[in-house]
Amino acid sequence: MSGHELLAAMARSPEAIERTKLIFLGIGFASVWSGMVVYLVSLANRQKRLERRLAALDPTTKSD
């Protein structure tokens, strides 16, 4: 068995397959949570910006 074939066989070993699955599971979960957090942070930033604009337009008006 050549070095190349040995590496290919190692890459397909049950442990390697399981390790790859774990990596993609981790990336999948991270994408879900990071997507939600990034969206919530962007909403908070937009709210601050709009409140400043509203205060500049009408200082007597209060936001919701």
């Binding site: 399981e18 993609f24 999948g28 879900v32 509203l54 009408d58 919701d64």
Partner: protein, 232 residues
């Protein structure tokens, strides 16, 4: 709604997420229903299912809210319905993006590729583009008052993609797994522990959607108030 009143909902969502993670990683068994060369075909990576499916369902829910509020807007021309429709579309697009990315990770681990032009994947991508287009149209419109009826029509017509996405795996030849809960067989095709975990995560994602929608609607009202003040 004031920020203070949202705090209990934020805590419930955070606690639900932690409880959900405990169910996913500590309680529900690893899926080993298919063996290939003595190795579980799905194995650990199948746990993406518990966030991938709720994201897709919540996206469907978000687009249903867009449909209902768009119809209500066209009937009564009340700006509150327009704000609700656009807010729900934005949250729906975020959940569709999460569905696509988590599905790509699952696909890479099982199929060996991030993307296939499979009917379910392609139609989900089209659904995403329809509502990105809806948001882009609203963002580019110079007069929000005149853009609202047109975007309501887009919101209603665009909803046709939702049942098409869901039943694409039944109607067309697809490599994507068939629906296991809402399916032509009627009864859910899942073991009890998997079904309970899925239903729990679905409730948590629905609460997160509600939280995001409340915050986004509040922003929409703020934008509307600013537009009114600037126009005066």
């Amino acid at each position: 709604m004031k920020t203070r009143t949202l705090k209990p909902l934020v805590y419930i969502c955070a606690a639900g997420m932690l409880a959900g993670l405990a169910l996913i990683f500590l309680w529900v068994p690893t899926d080993c229903s298919q063996l290939i060369n003595g190795v579980c075909n799905e194995g650990t990576v199948q746990r993406i299912f518990y966030v991938h499916v709720p994201s897709a369902w919540v996206a469907y829910l978000a687009y249903t809210v867009v449909l209902i509020s768009s119809i209500a807007y066209l009937k009564g021309r009340n700006d509150r319905w327009d704000i609700l429709a656009s807010s729900s579309a934005e949250v729906g697009v975020m959940f569709t993006a999460i569905t696509l990315v988590s599905g790509m990770m699952w696909g890479k681990a099982i199929w060996g590729t991030y993307w296939r032009w499979d009917p379910r994947l392609t139609l989900t991508f089209i659904l995403f583009l329809v509502y990105v287009g809806y948001l882009a149209f609203r963002a580019m419109a110079s007069d929000p008052g005149r853009a609202a009826p047109v975007s309501a029509v887009i919101g209603i017509v665009g909803f046709a993609a939702v049942p098409l996405v869901h039943f694409s795996v039944v109607w067309f030849r697809s490599q994507h797994p068939a629906p296991v809960v809402v399916n032509p067989q009627g009864a859910p095709q899942l073991p009890a522990s998997m079904l309970i975990t899925l239903m729990f995560m679905l409730s948590v994602f629905t609460l997160i959607y509600s939280l995001m929608l409340i915050i986004r609607v509040r922003l929409g009202r703020l934008e509307h108030r600013i537009e009114t003040l600037e126009a005066a």
